[in-house]
Structure formats: structure tokens, C-alpha cells
Symmetry: C2
Subunit: 217 residues, 2 copies
Amino acid sequence: MTLEHDTVRETLIDATIALMDEGGLQAVKARALAQAVGVSVGTIYNLFGNVDGLVLAANQRIYADLNTVGQANIGPIEERLAQRIAQGLVGDTARDRVRERLLGLSEVYVDFVAANASRWSAVLTFDRNRSTAETPEGYVEQLDAMIGIIGRVLEAAPRCADIGVRHQTARALWSSVHGIVTLTYFSGDVATSRDRTWALIVILVSAVADGLFVEPA
Amino acid sequence: MTLEHDTVRETLIDATIALMDEGGLQAVKARALAQAVGVSVGTIYNLFGNVDGLVLAANQRIYADLNTVGQANIGPIEERLAQRIAQGLVGDTARDRVRERLLGLSEVYVDFVAANASRWSAVLTFDRNRSTAETPEGYVEQLDAMIGIIGRVLEAAPRCADIGVRHQTARALWSSVHGIVTLTYFSGDVATSRDRTWALIVILVSAVADGLFVEPA
DNA sequence: CGCTTTTTTGAACGGCGTTCAAGTGCAAAA
DNA sequence: TTTTGCACTTGAACGCCGTTCAAAAAAGCG
């Protein structure tokens, strides 16, 4: 049945993420998945083509989770910004608002990574392989949605008046925060990962935000 | 003998990089390496512990190459900066000089990646696994050296007066450019990789450099 | 109910990293 | 020169991996 069919799909994705949480991407193996869900290894190949296809589907859901968290936090970010301005913690210029919003988004991202460290590490580790499996539909859209959120914040920055530049800036910012998380969060002492990562992100995002209000040379 | 011993070590590292160039990290396999060099698989384990250890040694040499290229280009970057100032292409403020130097370093990095795409991709793909093999000596030092170069450029920036902040800023910048390269260079059309990557780096590095001369909120 | 089609199954296959008993080369001892 | 000792090399063998596909089971159908 189609219903049962989709149920098994979802259950396999669940099992994949569970294995990622336990032992990282290395722990995601065909036989372990089959045994965990109660199907044979062949079923994985019927539903996802191969193991990479299943990992890709799991990655897509993890991306969707991040996107959901991001979307859900736009409101709170605005509220916190208003509070900080009211309390005089930050200024009330366009520059200050852009910087604080970008920091708010970054904090949401870092919190997500901290709360989903193992599975996020698996996503980052895998994405570099691509392998044979083709990217499932909606995969790119998730990323574009997140970059779109950043782009909307950047509308207030003089250097981002052009929509092309704005989109590039949003993508560059996303890539940068991603790079810091990749090199800083997932290295060194786990206990200090979040703090070390956040410190670098604050420095970078603040500098970028402020720089976007400086007129170019 | 020890001499022969070291020769085999170097030859194996050569073969590893050659395989990376041909087929990426996936092509680096114990049997293929052994056959290419003319030793048995066991020798790899005697000399490097396991295949990961050999890959790590190869990565270290690739890092050293990048470092060498970086060091060798500091002079030319200064010359080009002086020329651009003389020709009126950029200003002569501390802000302009920091920005142009950072862009110069970034360009060296992007050129290196473009010229060594396959093996650099292998380095980035592998570093996320770490696996069992311990990092060879001098590995961390190579990275610190490159961050040190960036840090020296940042000495002219007001926000980086504090040495701790300066070091963090240098690391954040390195991570950011790394992130842009990872997400942009190694995705999409190969023919446009360099241009797309460079466009994002210019936007980001320029904004950061300019932002570092804005007094904080 | 029999017949056809679809889906599931899991033993088998090739390839991988890794191991380790057996072999090899070579310098020191006799 | 011959023998001994030993550090190093070897490659067949082992276990595990992703993947396949003939056979079995299940589902659809008149």
C-alpha cells in the first residue's frame, strides 16, 4: 500500500537520524538500518535507490528542521531587538538593527547546531561526497529559503540595494557562518565548542554588518 | 635503511596526492597505493599506521604547499597594493590598505584552490572524519602560520588592537573564506566556480575589512 | 479460486581496510 | 666463510561494507 509505503520511508529516515545521533555518519549502515526498522536491506534500495539516497533524505529533513526553527524565531528576534533598543543596550540606527538581526539569526543557527551536533556533523560530513544519488526535490529550496531570510534583513543595508549583490551577500554570510561552525564547533574541546564558535561569529557578523553601511572605496 | 625508509614514505605521499588528483579521496585505496609505489599493503601500515595516517600526511604536505605559496606572495601583494594606490585605483587610508591586503591574500588562496582543486577537495572532505589516526606533528602549526599572516595584516585595524581579538578575527576570516570556498567552489558548474567564489569573497572580505574600521556600537 | 503483477527478501558477490604468520635480507657473531 | 639473530617486508586471509537479483511472498484482478 501507498500508505504503508510512505510510513516505511519515514521510519527509515527516523532510523537514519537516530543512527547519526548515536555514532555519526559512519554508523549509518544498510544492515543496521534494516534491522532497526524491521525490513530487509533490499527495501532500502527499492525506496531510496541506495544508502546515500536515504542519507540525503535524512539530510533534507534536518535542513527542514533548521529552516522551521529559523522561521519560527524571526518574531522573537524582532522582540528581543526592540527590547535591547528600549533598554539602551544597542542603538536605533538601521546599522544597529541589521547587525542585531543578523546576530539573532546566527544565534538561532548556533543553538540549533549545539542542540543537534551529531546529526548536523553528519550532514556536513556527507554533503561533500554527493556521490551517485541525485538531490531530492525541495533540497535546494530549503537552502534558498534560509538565504532568503538573511537577504530580507540585508535590504536595509546601503551596499545591498542591488538585489543581485544582496543575494550574494546573504549567501556569503551564510557560507561564512557555516565555515566558522565547521572549523570551530567540530574541533577541540566539546565543552567550549559553543562559546568559541559564538565568539568568532559575533566578531565576523558584526564586522560585516557594520561594513555594509560603509560606503565602498 | 633509514634513507630508503624515508624515500618510500615520500613516494607513498606522492602517490596519495596523485590518486587524489585523479579520482579524489575515494580513489585513495591501500591496494592502489601499494601497486603504484611497488610495495605491499603491509608497508603502508608499517609506515603510517593505516591509510588515514597516510592521507593525513598527504594533507599536511598540501597545507604546507598552500603555506609556501602564501608566504611567497606577501611581497607581490605589497607591490600590487602600492601600484594600485599609485594608479588611484584604491585610496591610501589604513582601511584601504587592510582591505586590499586581505583581498590579495584571499586571491592567493582562491588561485591555489583553483590550481589544486581535486586535491584540495580531498583535504576538505577528509578533515571532517579525523577517524582514528592522530594528527601528525606540524599539522596545527601550518594552520597557525596562515592565520598569523592574516593577523599581521589586521594589526592596522582599530577593532583588532587587542591581540586576542585580532587572533580571533583572523581565524574567523580564514574560516569564512574557507566556508565560501567549500560551499561555492565545489558545487555547481566547474567552469564558473572560480568567478562565483571570488565574487562572494570580495563582498565578504571587503565588508569585514571596512567594518573593522567602524567603531563598535 | 487461479493467474498475473508488484513488492520484498536475504544469500551471495566484489571490494574495501586491516591483520599477522611466514618469508626475506642483512649485519653481527662465531 | 658460515651461522645466527632480528628488523622489516610480504600478501593471503578475515571481517565488514554497499549492492545485486533470483526466488519467494504479497497484492491485485476477473
